[in-house]
């Protein structure tokens, strides 16, 4: 039987560089969850539609299920585990989702948090329209989206007040 070729893959996740051994076909989502044990990144559809697996690569949101781990070596990857401070203080987007009841079952939440995080880092005063546009690639089957939109707006507000 053929054994599958393995590669040494360096992944820089939440500021820490780790080396994994995995085949080239290992999706970033599976590398994060399986090899690195970072199960905060959720896997829903595995073809880029649901948005649950969204992580940041060099600050930009991407689908980790449509990215091979080997193709993003040495890039800055940020996952939901990297949001809260070391002392446990919540990131503005986490605080806002909690306050605004922006989640119910929580399955889609990591994807929404990372998408919202990228948005408010680029633009901490987004309009309603910009918020809707930013989260349009993420699906939620519980909330009906209104609380999520409110949460993103509130997260931006917290981020603005943190700056002053």
């Amino acid at each position: 039987m053929n054994t599958e070729e393995s590669y040494e893959i360096r992944l820089k996740v939440n500021g820490e560089t780790q080396q994994i051994t995995a085949p080239a076909r290992r999706l970033l989502s599976d590398a994060l969850r399986g090899e690195l044990g970072l199960t905060g990144t959720h896997v829903g559809c595995e073809h880029g539609v649901c948005g649950c697996c969204t992580v940041l690569v060099d600050g930009a949101p991407v689908r980790s299920c449509l990215t091979f781990a080997i193709a993003v070596q040495d890039r800055e990857i940020r996952t939901v585990e990297g949001l809260a401070a070391d002392d446990g203080e919540l990131h503005p987007v986490q605080e806002a989702f909690k306050e605004c009841h922006g989640l119910q079952c929580g399955f889609c939440t990591p994807g929404f948090l990372m998408t919202a995080c990228a948005l408010i880092e680029q633009n901490d005063d987004p309009t309603e329209e910009e918020i809707t546009e930013a989260i349009a690639g993420n699906l939620c089957r519980c909330t009906g989206y209104q609380n999520i939109r409110a949460a993103v707006g509130y997260a931006a507000e917290i981020a603005r007040s943190d700056k002053t």
Partner: protein, 282 residues
């Protein structure tokens, strides 16, 4: 829902990528992977080798000249969308980019990848068709230019040879007195369009139509180009009006039916999108 095994070859140059393509059996180019990886996850594609060109600096350029905009093969949709140079030289490209999927997909997907993927529902296939653009390729036997009219052979089938990769796509800028517009209908924001049209209208010195054409997406195996010259030349679009344009397009377009829309409904939508994109050029 996981890709099948493959060997990974990061190319250090275009020459090396071409070399890999000529030497390796059943190899595919990986740039952003936003069309290829879903196909691989579904195992609709299972290449033995992937040649990664996403890191190639020589393919990462956007060049704007007097008459053309050239987009390198590793330039992402987001980079095109955010390029002020492109925005002022050829706003149609930016207008089309806004309609492509969501930001999260545009952050990795590449414009040239969309062309190589040759999906007739893809916005860029219609844009390069209506603009009479071209792609520039490389291979071990030398590069060539493929005109848009010769690029698409069927759904997900381009005329690229197996040993050939796209290095850039070139879009002619619009001339003076020329206007363009893109209109499409999708079931949800960011989905593939059920129907869509991109029009280019050139006016004469009396503000009457000199020449007009539209490319339609999602109506056939390849993007469909329709000329309005016989209908509109020497006239104003508003004088010819919705009904004549609609009827003309209904007779020209032969879309297929699928789960999203019957053939008749898609013909109706396409004709309406054709009119809407023309009307936006008034």
């Amino acid at each position: 829902m996981k890709p099948s095994p493959f060997s990974y070859h990061p190319a250090a140059s275009v020459d090396e990528a071409a070399q890999f393509l000529s030497e390796l059996e059943d190899a595919k180019i990986l740039a952003g992977g936003q069309s290829l990886i879903p196909l691989m996850n579904f195992r609709l594609a299972s290449p033995t080798h992937l040649i990664d060109i996403s890191g190639l600096a020589e393919l990462s350029e956007i060049k704007v000249s007097e008459s053309e905009v050239e987009i390198g093969a590793s330039v992402t949709h987001s980079q095109v969308l955010q390029s002020e140079q492109v925005g002022s030289a050829l706003p149609l490209l930016v207008e089309a980019e806004r309609l492509i999927a969501h930001e999260v997909i545009r952050n990795r997907g590449t414009l040239c990848g969309s062309l190589a993927h040759a999906d007739p529902a893809g916005e860029m296939t219609a844009v390069i068709t209506v603009l009479n653009g071209r792609v520039n390729t490389a291979s071990v036997s030398g590069g060539r230019t493929i005109e848009a009219a010769d690029l698409f052979e069927g759904p997900l089938q381009s005329s690229l040879r197996e040993d050939e990769l796209i290095v850039s796509a070139t879009f002619p800028k619009l001339g003076p007195r020329t206007v363009s517009s893109f209109r499409e209908v999708a079931r949800r924001h960011g989905d593939y369009a059920v129907a869509g049209a991109v029009s280019v209208v050139e006016y004469d010195n009396d503000d009457q139509v000199h020449s007009a054409r539209a490319a339609f997406l999602s109506v056939g195996p390849v993007p469909t180009l329709v000329s309005f010259d016989d209908l509109l030349r020497g006239n104003r679009i508003e004088d010819v009006g919705h009904n004549e344009v609609y009827n003309f397009l209904s007779s020209q377009l032969e879309p297929h039916g699928d789960l999203q829309a019957s053939a008749d409904y898609r013909r109706h939508l396409s004709a309406e999108m054709g009119w809407a994109s023309l009307e936006a050029c008034i």
